[in-house]
């Protein structure tokens, strides 16, 4: 197991290296942050001075060639990189177009907590609902209940997040209006002014901001987990050992709980790790729709202002999470399923 884990970790290195090249090339050729700042300044009616343009180009390493810039971004070597603010392997993501006061690494770290709050809750909700409905659906295969759950599952799967987000906001606002009190919020992860808030006020404020985006993000996860759980459960229910258990006269509940569900959960649980990584990408849309200041919106905003190192930082983090999640999923699978053992 240890050898397998080490082998998988080593295999991830070239994957991440290839990802870094791909990400860098894609982002670097898609936008020029220096030109964008020049043009932004025009909008204020005050063109950037030649001095300022050169200063920006140097600060953003756009006075270097593209290969040199990539090498610097990856390694931070040679030491001529200004202020030591670049070099992925040293934990430096590069300078932000927003200015010297902004550190992309710190920005990403602070946003990660916000995103994880949303993703964690949404994944939990998606899993619980998905497993419950998946099991019910499988146990009552082809019944009316199964059809309804299947319909809801496919509806959830096919509804775009940006559309469902708007829809659920309407519902939330309608409820607020109906009761004459604001329970649900449609923008942000908390109110901008919380002066005089008690701990309870803070809790309800955060919860009020959390409910609608959590449901939105949970929807896609729920649909996937539900369908996967149904298929997994059906496979187990049709297996010899379940039939044997029934033939031995065990009660249906016992067969389901001890024999069928436990086995059927294994592939679903391994899916959870990948699901969490995927949800972080899914949060891009949800955070935009609800204007949450998490990683997703950070990425969208960075794209908008051609903050290339910030975009690359997000993409690399995202790629790393997917690689790590896959690794964990494989290891988890090996741990949970006694039939599978690696050495």
């Amino acid at each position: 197991m240890l050898v397998y884990s080490i082998r998988r970790l080593l295999a991830a290195i070239p994957v991440l290296l290839a990802a870094s090249m791909f990400v860098f090339l894609l982002v670097d050729i898609s936008g020029d942050p220096v030109a964008e700042l020049i043009f932004q300044a025009e909008a204020t009616g005050e063109p950037l001075s030649e001095e300022a343009q050169q200063e920006i180009a140097a600060r953003l390493y756009h006075d270097r060639s593209m290969p040199e810039r990539y090498w610097l971004w990856l390694t931070g070597w040679p030491g001529s990189a200004h202020n030591g603010d670049i070099g992925l392997i040293r934990g430096e993501f590069g300078p932000s177009t927003r200015g010297t006061a902004f550190d992309i690494g710190s920005d990403i770290a602070s946003r990660l907590a916000t995103t994880l709050r949303l993703v964690g809750l949404a994944t939990l909700l998606g899993i619980v609902l998905g497993i419950i409905t998946g099991v019910i659906s499988a146990v009552r295969q082809y019944s009316k209940t199964d059809h309804i759950i299947t319909f809801i599952g496919f509806l959830s799967l096919s509804m775009p997040v940006f559309w469902f987000g708007v829809l659920i906001k309407e519902v939330g606002v309608s409820i607020n209006n109906a009761i004459g009190f604001r329970i649900f919020y449609t923008i942000g992860s908390q109110s901008p002014v919380r002066e005089g808030y008690s701990a309870w006020d803070n809790f309800t404020d955060i919860a009020g901001h959390l409910i609608l985006p959590t449901i939105t993000l949970a929807l896609v996860g729920y649909a996937v987990f539900s369908r996967f759980q149904r298929a997994s459960m059906l496979e187990v229910l049709g297996s010899d050992y379940v039939r044997l258990a029934r033939a031995k006269g065990l009660r249906n509940g016992t067969v389901m709980r001890r024999h069928a569900l436990r086995t059927a959960l294994i592939p679903v649980l391994t899916l959870v790790t990948i699901g969490i990584a995927g949800s972080i990408d899914g949060a891009v849309l949800t955070e935009t729709v609800f204007q949450w200041q998490g990683l997703g919106r950070y990425f969208v905003d960075a794209l908008g202002r051609t903050d290339t190192f910030a975009v690359m930082g997000f993409l690399m983090l995202s790629g790393t999470l997917v690689v790590v999640a896959n690794l964990i999923a494989d290891l988890l699978y090996a741990v949970l399923d006694p039939r599978i053992r690696y050495d």
């Binding site: 030109a35 005050e46 001075s49 300022a52 829809l167 729709v289």
Partner: protein
């Protein structure tokens, strides 16, 4: 059983449809669906419309459609209209343009109107009111003006080491900024030979790179040696990296979360005639315009004057009860630019002319804005909008922008082109196919529509144009990566020097690499113009040449909109200011019931 299943399916589909419809439904009616619902008086009285008495208290939430990129608009990275809007109300300034286009000296700050005391060299004085103080009681004096000037100048001037102002032109044109009368009189002297017809709008106005004047005492309090150029450079970075904790304006910043919002509260030491009545003004940065309508309905948002024109949002706002909305010409105008380095476009002025004649500016504007804003304004002058006293129609008589396909074909035929009737790709010259051309712009809805229409016009004269949207407008322009480009310039009532920006050979903003010796000579003359009349006349001469050269085709003034819920008064748009609706936000307040 089958019937019941079908019924269930129908009910489910019906329920889903109801959900869809509920998302689209609004609670308004058709009342006042025009472009100025609730702002009707702005058409006749743009400076005082939507006015009303205010009651004390209340919190108002305004939104910007983009987050600021810094805390201070001084530096290249912080210098966006969003930063200016975010910190508006903090820096004292000497004056600004009103929605009507009139210049208004800031008589909260000034004791008397600014005075031009000499025109050789140009010398201007400002008298500051004794009552004008920073929020800690420190008087606002000439020292603040002098420091702001020194930190805005280029390093060669020797005033500052390490300052990184995004534009130095205004500061570098000054010889000195001095104080007298206990610092309450500021005397600004321009360098010898510098003509300053717009002397009233100096770099210390709301339209300067800073949007006002920075405090000197605050720097000293924070330990910077402001008598030393190096110390000024350090103070520059300090201001750049930290949210302002001072104020010489009507508001103080209570908190500044650069990703989410800035929260402003009244400055207790505000010396102006009208004090803010709002307890708090929250300016949230909501970049996704689709989020605004639910937030409005949920009382999480009360107004905005966004930079873009989003027809679906405007329609939804118009359908909401209790929200005022106004559409009007905005500060920027759209135009088509040629790449003069393109083999065909650069060498064949008749081809450029024919293309511009084939383009129907009115059709583009009508299709984009006709349904919601039928009063859209076609642009006929590169520098002055239709409402400016300096406006002259430079398109008249050129036939450019008229969509006259027949005339365009005649122009091409006379120049030796063939194949105009053979559809896109049919046009030839000396047997060689002309084009295809890369038609570029951003993919904003109005521009996407315009691009498709332009593609169609060009097809009618045998030209193949391939639309290539870009997400990187600045990069595309700077790299000159286009054949024909559509984009917008920000207009301003301040116009001296515009020619050097747009058309001077080698100018960084002359993206199509246009060059004309006559224009260059006129630009040089214009930079020495001593009066606005002279400057405007020289600009007129430049525009005549540029139009004859068919380099830039003005299309229309881009419309913008503003909306605000009805409980707030004194909110109105200002297309003459980067601050837009926020231009006098200390006057905003809850309407007296």
């Amino acid at each position: 059983m089958r019937i019941r299943r079908r019924l269930a399916g129908t009910v489910a589909a019906g329920a889903a449809m109801a959900l869809v419809l509920s998302a689209c439904a609004t609670d308004g009616d058709d009342e006042g669906s025009g472009p100025s619902r609730g702002f009707e008086d702005c058409l006749d009285d743009p400076d005082n419309c939507n006015a009303g008495d205010r009651e004390e208290g209340g919190t108002m939430t305004w939104t910007l459609d983009q987050a600021p990129d810094g805390f201070f608009p001084w530096s290249p990275e912080g210098g966006s209209v969003y930063t200016l809007q975010a910190i508006n109300g903090i820096l004292p300034y000497v004056g600004q343009f009103l929605p009507s286009g009139d210049w208004k000296p800031n008589m909260d700050l000034l004791a008397t109107e600014p005075e031009l005391v000499s025109s050789d060299p140009v010398t201007v004085t400002f008298d500051i009111r004794d009552e004008a103080v920073w929020d800690d009681g420190t008087p606002i004096t000439a020292d603040d003006f002098q420091l702001t000037w020194m930190m805005s100048a280029s390093e060669d001037e020797g005033h500052c080491e390490g300052c990184r102002p995004r534009s130095t032109a205004s500061a570098d044109s000054l010889e000195s900024v001095e104080g007298s009368n206990d610092g309450k009189t500021v005397t600004i002297t321009y360098k010898d030979g510098v003509a300053a017809p717009e002397w009233f709008a100096t770099m210390f106005s709301a339209h300067g790179i800073l949007g006002g004047v920075a405090p000197r005492h605050y720097g000293e309090q924070n330990g910077f040696d402001l008598d030393d150029p190096e110390g000024r450079g350090e103070y520059f970075e300090f201001l750049n990296d930290n949210a302002p904790e001072f104020s010489g304006g009507p508001y103080l910043i209570e908190s500044f979360d650069i990703d989410n919002q800035v929260v402003k509260v009244p400055n207790p030491e505000w010396y102006g005639e009208e004090a803010p009545t709002l307890e708090r003004l929250v300016v949230r940065f909501l970049t996704d315009e689709d989020t605004w309508i639910p937030a409005l309905q949920n009382d999480e948002l009360h107004g905005a004057s966004p930079a873009g024109y989003a027809e679906d949002v405007i329609r939804q706002v118009q359908d909401l009860d209790g929200v005022r909305v106004h559409i009007g010409a905005g500060p920027s105008w759209e135009h088509l630019d040629m790449n003069m380095d393109n083999q065909w476009l650069g060498e064949h002025p008749e081809l450029r002319e024919a293309i511009f004649v084939a383009v129907d500016a009115s059709d583009i504007a009508e299709r984009n804005f006709g349904s919601l804003f039928p009063d859209y304004q076609l642009r006929t002058n590169h520098v002055h909008s239709e409402t400016s006293e300096w406006h002259v129609d430079h398109l008249e008589g050129t036939n450019q922008g008229t969509g006259d396909i027949e005339l365009a074909r005649e122009i091409l035929e006379a120049a030796g082109f063939e194949g105009m009737d053979e559809g896109p790709g049919g046009l030839t010259y000396d047997g060689e196919t002309v084009g295809p051309f890369r038609l570029r712009s951003t993919s904003a809805p109005a521009r996407a529509t315009a691009q498709q229409l332009i593609q169609g016009y060009l097809a009618e004269i045998g030209i193949e144009a391939n639309i290539e949207p870009t997400d990187d407008l600045g990069g595309t322009l700077v790299a000159q990566d286009f054949d024909i480009m559509q984009f917008g310039w920000s207009g301003s009532p301040l116009f001296t020097g515009a020619g050097s920006q747009y058309w001077l050979t080698g100018s960084g903003s002359n993206f199509g690499n246009y060059s004309n010796d006559e224009v260059d000579a006129l630009v040089e003359q214009e930079l020495q113009a001593e009066s606005l009349e002279e400057s405007a006349q020289l600009h007129d001469q430049m525009m005549e040449i540029v139009m004859a050269d068919a380099y830039v085709l003005p299309l229309y003034d881009s419309p913008v909109y503003i909306f605000v819920t009805e409980e707030y008064v004194n909110v109105r748009d200002n297309a003459n200011s980067s601050l837009r609706g926020l231009y006098e936000h200390h006057m905003w307040g809850l309407a007296v019931e």
